[in-house]
């Protein structure tokens, strides 16, 4: 069984990484999407499925890291809501 703290720390690193997006739209979308996915699978007990989702989350975390870098290379103007 996957430890609770491991999942929570994965969630935390994903949220923290998404906070680095310089563009408001990317940032808020990423956070909402991460939150939604984690909430949807909160009651999941199937271990194989859990492992698969954790792998997917790790892959996505790396993708977010890359995209954050790219978004920092090409800064956009701040939106009026910021």
């Amino acid at each position: 069984m996957l430890s609770r703290t491991k999942v929570l720390s994965l969630y935390k690193s994903m949220i923290k990484e998404s906070n680095k997006f310089s563009s408001y739209n990317f940032r808020e979308y990423a956070k909402k999407r991460i939150k939604h996915e984690f909430e949807a699978n909160k009651q999941l007990n199937d271990q194989a499925k859990q492992a698969e989702l954790i792998q997917k989350a790790n892959a996505n975390l790396n993708m977010i890291k890359r995209q954050v870098l790219v978004s920092q290379l090409y800064p956009t103007e701040k939106l009026i809501i910021e």
Binding site: T5, Y11, K12, K16, K42
Partner: protein, 146 residues
Amino acid sequence: MIRQVVRATARATPGLITASQISKCSPRVLKVSNFNLVKQNLLSNTFSTSSFRSLSDQAKQDTAQVEEKVLNIIRNFDRVKENPSKPQVSLESNLIKDLGLDSLDQVEIIVQLEDTFGYEIPDSDYEKLNTPAEIVNYIQKRLAEV
């Protein structure tokens, strides 16, 4: 006629040299005087009286500030704000039992705390942080260590 010209330039050159010397020198002189000004400012800042405040006063002030910041973060958290039963957030309210949050929300609050107070909270400490009072205690302990 050539002699006259030579003499004239000879007379003119000393004046030219001094003019160019002045223009070369003046920036350096300015820089030096700027440096002195900066130095004076630094000195007067380090010896300003504001740093001589009694430690106990500061500790009290810090606790109040930390409490306020922590409560503000929790009160402004979406799930708490939009909770239909409008729970009252006090220092003793349990995040999960009283405010209806789950462990993911707790992690989000911790991320916000980290951003506000500027240091990492290790994963193993999440279970210790169930009420605002516990969070305040924890932060105070961490601040004291630094």
